[in-house]
Subunit: 490 residues, 2 copies
């Protein structure tokens, strides 16, 4: 085999390097086996019609790389392969900061305020079963199981477009893309619109999945404070002027984690500011339907004269988060690129869930479910606020959302919410401490209570336990303050 090697004298690459490369290839590809003897240099030189020094030079290089071993008087042998070299994963994997993992449930009876998700006890299983039967019994069943379109299941897209048109959030120049949940809608926007180094403005505190997404993409992520009335517009104006962001993402209704809602007048102002700064405004609309009191506010997309606001939504909060179906409504040029990105990401969204949610909606079952969810949510929120009032020590400040799934609590006396969590979990209660939601500012003294998934009785018990622990910590901290012996004055 070696005898058939042909080199190219006119290639400009020295012959000994050519020979070395060919032999190396034969060894690595297994054509020359470990332990196999190479011809003596003199012999090979003769057979290939080369100078003997060419052969020895090539052999030396092979030996230097550990590919052959020479034994004086016995010739050269292909090295018995070192075990196939592994990949040094540590070296090649990205060094991004891992997102903080949610606290591990420590016991089965844990009352967990840690996840912003609906109550599975409210899922209307019988309705879901009937819906699945109807979908899989329909003449479309084969189409649904077959490969679909990146833009989404046609009938669902039409349904979503009609609904959005009626609400005034889809205009002539807009279209709908179905995504694998709202998270993917945001990820696709990142892919298409954000380049490394671009500034992105998020609410602070914010849902961690949003921050992680843009940080990993290499964006400069900036936080704008969220107060009781949503984002701080003065601060936003400053950030817009200073950083010329590519993207601003805002949750105007029942923001996660604060629960805050942006007043109607502020929506107009925000829209003008962001647009004047040339940034793309993304409206995260997933909690809107979970309003428990007060009149609905116009969405940013509705108020936008230019029509260029991008709206993202999902079935996850009002129906079933296990079915990953969300959407983006945006001007067509953007939507086209998002659809291309979607195709590269995962071809298209799961069609069984798309068809199931469509049928669930069209049959009126979604609306019935939504009403039950809103009713339950309102009761749970009332219970939570009343319990906080009753059990938490004076000085605690918490938001009073008009809807959604989350209340933001600021502990008094400089208490650390992450420190408290360890104790709370020992006592059977869990939540997410403020640091999970930090963008630019620290939120060590704050925590998020997600109430939608818990029954009122659990909420009451959970808050009672938490309130007691906070009270104890507080007394201890103040005690320390009081009794801390003062150092001598020198």
């Amino acid at each position: 085999m070696i005898e058939q090697i042909q080199l190219e004298p006119s290639s400009g690459v020295p012959l000994y390097r050519q020979l070395f490369a060919r032999l190396k290839e034969m060894i690595l590809s297994g054509q020359l086996r470990p332990g196999e003897r190479l011809p003596a240099s003199r012999e090979l030189a003769g057979r290939l019609g080369l100078n003997r020094t060419t052969i020895t030079a090539a052999y030396e290089l092979l030996q230097a790389e550990g590919l052959i071993r020479g034994h004086v008087g016995r010739g050269s042998y292909v090295a018995t392969g070192p075990a196939m070299p592994g990949i040094p994963w540590d070296k090649i994997l990205p060094s991004w900061e891992s997102a903080p993992a949610p606290p591990q449930p420590t016991s089965a009876g844990l009352i967990s305020f840690a996840t912003s998700r609906p109550a599975e006890q409210l899922f209307p299983l019988e309705d879901v079963r009937r819906t699945a039967e109807e979908v899989l019994g329909s003449p479309h069943a084969r189409t649904i199981l077959q490969l679909g379109s990146p833009a989404g299941y046609g009938p669902l897209r039409e349904y979503l477009a009609d609904e959005a048109r009626q609400r005034g959030v889809l205009r002539e120049k807009d279209d709908v893309l179905v995504t694998s949940g709202c998270q993917q809608a945001l990820d696709l926007l990142q892919r298409v619109l954000v380049r490394p180094g671009d500034a992105v403005i998020l609410e602070d505190p914010v849902y961690p999945g949003l921050k992680t997404l843009f940080q990993r993409a290499g964006a400069r992520v900036m936080g704008v404070s969220v107060g009781a009335d949503g984002v701080d517009l003065e601060e936003l104006a400053l950030l817009l002027e200073r950083h010329r962001p590519r993207l601003v993402v805002v949750t105007p209704d029942f923001q996660n984690p604060t629960g805050a809602t942006l007043p109607a007048a502020a929506r107009q102002s925000l829209l003008r500011m962001v647009r004047a700064a040339g940034a793309v405004l993304v409206e995260n609309d997933i909690y809107r339907e979970l309003r428990y009191e007060g009149a609905p506010q116009p969405s940013l997309k509705q108020l936008d004269d230019s029509g260029d606001t991008v709206l993202v939504g999902s079935f996850s909060k009002i129906a079933f988060p296990g079915l990953r179906v969300g959407w983006v409504i945006a001007p067509r040029p953007l939507l086209l690129r998002l659809t291309e990105a979607k195709q590269a990401c995962d071809l298209h969204t799961d069609q069984l869930s798309q068809a199931l949610l469509l049928r669930f909606a069209e049959s009126g079952r979604l609306e019935a479910h939504r009403q039950r969810v809103r009713q339950a949510g309102a009761e749970r929120l009332r219970t939570l606020l009343a319990s906080l009032e009753k059990h938490f020590p004076k000085g605690t400040v918490y938001s009073r959302p008009a809807g959604g799934m989350n209340v933001w609590v600021r502990l008094p006396g400089g208490l650390d919410a992450a420190g408290l969590l360890t104790r709370a979990q020992r006592h059977g209660v869990s939540y997410l401490p403020g640091r999970y939601f930090e963008v630019t500012r620290q939120h060590t003294g704050a925590l998020r209570l997600s109430f939608a998934g818990l029954a009122p009785e659990e909420i009451r018990r959970g808050v009672e336990i938490l309130g007691r622990l906070v009270g104890e910590e507080l007394r201890q901290a103040r005690g320390h303050e009081r009794y801390e012996p003062a150092p001598a004055l020198v």
Copy 2:
């Protein structure tokens, strides 16, 4: 309102610029409305305790930006807003090349060889319905509809891990991540492992979704030729040496589009070469189960001593592509990062489809379906090859796969497969021309025939039509050749 503006004399920013910035903010945020009159400079100077020139300088800046208009003798007014400025999408959207769109079906009766997907006529709807009933009737129904884990639905992950362990493709150091189809598995690998400028080696020709994915990520995508026996190892050795790629993606069984299978010995060599070059080897395993003849070959992952090969698979080719469920099997450090990336992409894979496919598999229905699919596939492939033999002109070269869904046809006489497509569609037949699959080389004379979705009778008719058209084009081309009058010699 303007009267309450407070400036900071000690801030270092000139007062007129501070005033300008505050007024601009008030105009953009809508606090000052279009048409509203600003106080005269003298008046405002008095109220704010500033020099009058400070006010006029600020007003001049506002006027320069078109934010206010001055009328001599009547004072200054906030400019009636130009319509809210839109986003210049053309300027900010990425300029990536759009992936070629699949040919549009021109008529309902079209025989389409254009998509590599299973036959929906073979879907066992009754079995699927029963499976859905069982899943939604099980005690896990609520869990399935509820938010899940980024790593995948626990019971499905266990099932996949057990199966892979038995096949020898999951070892001690590996784990499984469930993805939204195989496409997402590949996309996540790109996200975690490939940085802009990194070299990536793909087969050439290759499935276009793979190429697009890496090109958009800014990778230098290189193609290695695929012949009847899979990738050309000599060429691969050269590319590895020259480009030090980060990633090499290979489909050892029934490659798309060529249908080629890599012989067992070549697998060993390929593995050693790629590993010696320090590249990560990704084995695309989606067609393996669709073997119609011959003995199964060991997978690269099985042969890999180091265990560092990454295997991606999916239910799409053996079951239902509309349900988006695939997986990655990889060493744990990599899998951890992939799971983090997965969470940022879409939280987790649809759980109804995960649970449904698990039950479909565990109930034995998947195996029964797989046998029917294999049987049908074998017959369809036989029919296709026989029809090609019978109807295509001499000089046509086509692959003879032992499984999968695709045959690669090279037309004789320099015919252009893309040009032929237009005619073919007019005659009721469609396919994908070679250029869809190009990486580094041109494949203008080639086309892919995807046969799995068509009934034997359709295959026969389709190939007969195509063969006739190719014959006609060929005669015409040769005729032109023969009768082309020679130009005068001068």
